[in-house]
């Protein structure tokens, strides 16, 4: 729970020595309360005050980076329960399970599918983020071999090693030491041994218990054993349990600052049936999972889940948008067509995708409309004849194109006359309404 300025002030030296750059300790305390200053700036603060303030100012859900290097995944740091309040911070990671009982050739296939899972959607690169290697055989040797095979083929992909056998954990972790994997499988029966292995290899410890009381008690115990980075599993497996436990965990962390459950949550979504698994994973995305474990990588499922995650994790205040400028699609010549649209990411990527499909090189003028779609921007007065003509004039594009012709979206056909009035010497052509009409439209003119 955040402390108020006065509460913080009580913990400061109260000498008003100004070494922190603030006129008084109270002024500094106020800045701290607003998170506009860092406690380090005061050289005289006591260890006791540091501890209390550090604990109080720690984010309610512990920030943890899973994996290392460019494919590492940030988890935790969430601050709200509903996305309209404030952006959800760290998009959940999707992991796919590989059992150590799987034949080598099949393991290779899954790892290859993970490597090939990356797609580009609305300007973001999205992929299956992690691999969950499970010790289904219960044999440390087999587990080690499976981890070795996966780590060799996918050296950059963050790994979750799932076993409740400390010997298997040790055998697996030593292969990926220093790669910040998750060791998933600490429970009431093996907490000490697993905590020790996790400490040795600086792994994040995945902690499972049945129910939230038991889970909270267990994370406290493990913390006292010296492990700080944990991901937690409440034992929820059915959709009903997932929504209940994930909601209560998030509320406890955020509204009560309950530290024992202030860790990223892992949700196991594996199901026999692919559509149902997709739905359980959707529930995980919507309801507070930091890691969602799937049984299979399938392109169609990935696309749906990546898109769902992207939707849920966009900033509710600021639509995703692209920079205002004149983009080139292909290699346009002075004769190539010039089209205009708004800077809402979705609009831009749909339209530029269709222009690419047409194979006709084009210029695409993308106008800043505060991230609104064509019709929304038009209705909001941000995509008007005067704004469009001003943008075209100021862009200097006149000097680059031979025909002064501007193609506008079909939905705003109504603007064509007014734009022509404001852009002397220009001709306005109304394009199709839907972007999927663009290839035929461009080809018919070529």
């Amino acid at each position: 729970m955040a402390l108020s300025g006065v509460e913080i002030f009580k913990l400061l030296p109260k000498t008003n020595c100004k070494k922190c750059g603030h006129p008084t300790c109270l002024a500094f305390a106020m800045k701290l309360a607003q998170r506009q200053a860092s406690l380090d700036a005061c050289p005289d603060v006591s260890e006791e005050a540091k501890r209390i303030l550090g604990e109080a100012s720690a984010p309610p859900v512990r920030p943890i980076t899973f994996g290392t290097g460019p494919k590492s995944v940030k988890m935790g740091e969430e601050t709200v329960l509903f996305r309209h309040e404030k952006k959800f911070v760290n998009p959940c990671a999707f992991a796919v399970e590989i059992k150590d009982t799987t034949a080598d050739s099949e393991i290779d296939g899954i790892v290859a599918a993970v490597a090939a899972s990356e797609i580009d959607r609305v300007g973001q690169k999205l992929r299956i983020d992690a691999i969950f290697v499970s010790n289904a055989s219960n044999d440390p040797g087999r587990f080690e071999a499976a981890v070795k095979a996966v780590a060799a083929k996918a050296p950059e992909v963050p790994l979750i090693l799932s076993t409740s056998n400390a010997a298997a954990a040790d055998a697996g972790l030593k292969i990926v030491a220093d790669k910040k994997p998750v060791l998933f499988g600490a429970d009431e029966s093996n907490a000490e041994a697993m905590a020790n292995v996790a400490k040795t290899y600086k792994a994040i410890l995945g902690v499972s218990a049945r129910g939230l009381d038991a889970l909270a008690a267990l994370t406290e115990k493990i913390k006292s054993l010296g492990v700080e980075d944990m991901v937690i599993d409440s034992g929820a497996r059915s959709a009903k349990e997932i929504i209940e436990n994930n909601t209560l965990i998030r509320r406890a962390a955020i509204k009560k600052n309950f530290k024992a459950l202030g860790y990223p949550v892992i949700t196991l979504a594996q199901r026999e049936e692919g559509m149902l698994e997709t739905l359980i994973a959707t529930l995980g995305v919507a309801k507070y999972a930091a890691i969602v474990v799937l049984s299979k990588v399938e392109k169609w499922k990935n696309l749906a889940l990546f898109t769902c995650r992207q939707n849920i994790y966009t900033d509710p205040q600021v639509p995703m948008q692209v920079e205002q400028k004149i983009y080139k699609v292909g290699e346009p010549t002075p004769e190539s067509p010039l089209m205009i649209t708004t800077n809402f990411s979705l609009t831009y990527f749909i339209v530029s995708g269709e222009v690419e499909n047409s194979k006709v090189p084009c210029r695409l003028a993308v106008m800043d409309s505060e991230g609104l779609s064509v019709l929304t921007a038009w209705a909001a007065g941000k995509f008007t004849a005067s704004k469009i003509s001003q943008f075209i004039l100021e862009s200097g594009i006149e000097n680059e194109v031979k025909n002064k012709e501007l193609i506008i979206p079909g939905y705003v056909a109504i603007l064509s006359g007014a734009i022509e009035d404001k852009l002397p010497g220009w001709k306005v052509t109304v394009g199709p309404r839907e972007a999927n009409g663009i290839p035929a439209f461009l080809k018919s003119r070529a």
């Binding site: 559509m275 499922k301 992207q310 939707n311 849920i312």
Partner: protein, 312 residues
């Protein structure tokens, strides 16, 4: 640190609605957020209605068109197929053929179709216009009369045409869908306007407007969550009608449900992708608060029903 589960109770409650001549489909009625039965009362499952239309679904993509091949030529056969073979719990008949740019069917023709469909099924019927504000006003009045006392759902009343449609729904004892565009204030205002006419607020269904996965889902999702929170935390009666997710229509027109795998190999199987698109859109909106869903593909419906089984 002892753990006390931070459960929440709310002063408000969602109205419960029963539809159909026999009142066989019941939804709403909860006093908690969707599927939060661990802290309150969530007595009813969301209801999924199969969408059919008055004209053959030539503009539906192949994946979903082909499952109705042989039955979708006329609405009566189609409706019976959904009831008898697919075990639908409700049917949503969209009178898209009345749209002036389509077949431009008259209100009388639409009324006859509604009568024929009603007499051939015994599950609840949702009757939707073509979303042309002027034409809907005429068509929905005629069909509301044709379906008198069958306790159907009539939709959609919008700001521009709610008066005539709400009056017809009221006179003929139907429930009514009130649709506004992705804005909690517009939605509240429309519900107020409709109830000010004397329409019973407990017979309304709010449609905050659907949007498909990848095409604005987050807007619908958040508007639904906000409406539901207003209903529960502020006990705001104008926000307490159950909500509709008109999923199929929005999903089966986006590129992901239509582009062949040959063109976009990294998008995977077109068939599975289309079904997943409908499934995920419906699932997400249900978690946000929708309790009446209109869907098209039987496999998507099946998956969502299984999901509900697990959630209840």
């Amino acid at each position: 640190m002892a753990f006390a589960a931070p459960k929440e109770t709310y002063p408000g409650k969602v109205f419960q609605i029963a539809i159909g001549a026999d009142q066989s489909a019941v939804f709403g009625g909860e006093n908690v957020l969707s599927f939060h039965s661990f802290e309150g009362n969530a007595p009813n499952r969301p209801v999924i209605a199969y969408e059919i239309q008055d004209i053959p679904p030539e503009d539906w993509p192949e994946t979903v068109r082909k499952v109705y091949e042989g039955v979708s030529g006329d609405p009566v056969t189609w409706a019976k197929h959904c009831q008898n073979e697919l075990k639908a719990k409700a049917i949503a008949l969209r009178l898209i053929g009345t749209h002036p740019d389509r077949e431009n069917r008259s209100p009388e023709e639409a009324a006859k179709i509604v009568k024929d469909v009603l007499s051939s099924i015994n599950i609840p019927l949702i009757i939707l216009g073509s979303n042309h504000v002027e034409k809907d006003a005429a068509v929905l009045v005629a069909v509301a009369e044709a379906a008198k006392d069958k306790n159907c759902v009539i939709g959609k009343a919008q700001e521009a045409n709610y008066k005539t449609i709400a009056a017809a729904a009221m006179a003929n004892h139907h429930k009514l869908i009130a649709m506004s565009e992705l804005d909690i204030n517009l939605s509240k205002q429309l519900n107020i306007l409709i109830t000010q006419m004397g329409f019973d607020k407990e017979k309304l269904i709010t449609d905050p407007m659907c949007s498909a996965l990848g095409y604005g889902l987050e807007y619908t999702y958040s508007v639904m969550e906000r409406i539901r929170l207003a209903a529960l935390t502020q006990n705001d009666a104008t926000m307490q009608p159950p909500m509709l997710g008109d999923v199929g229509m929005y999903v089966w027109k986006v590129k992901e449900t239509q582009a062949p795998e040959a063109d976009l190999p990294y998008w995977g199987s077109l068939e599975e992708r289309g079904i997943a698109w409908e499934t995920v859109t419906a699932g997400a909106l249900m978690v946000a608060g929708a309790e009446l869903l209109i869907m098209r593909h039987p496999r998507a419906v099946k998956a969502v029903e299984n999901f509900i089984d697990e959630l209840m």
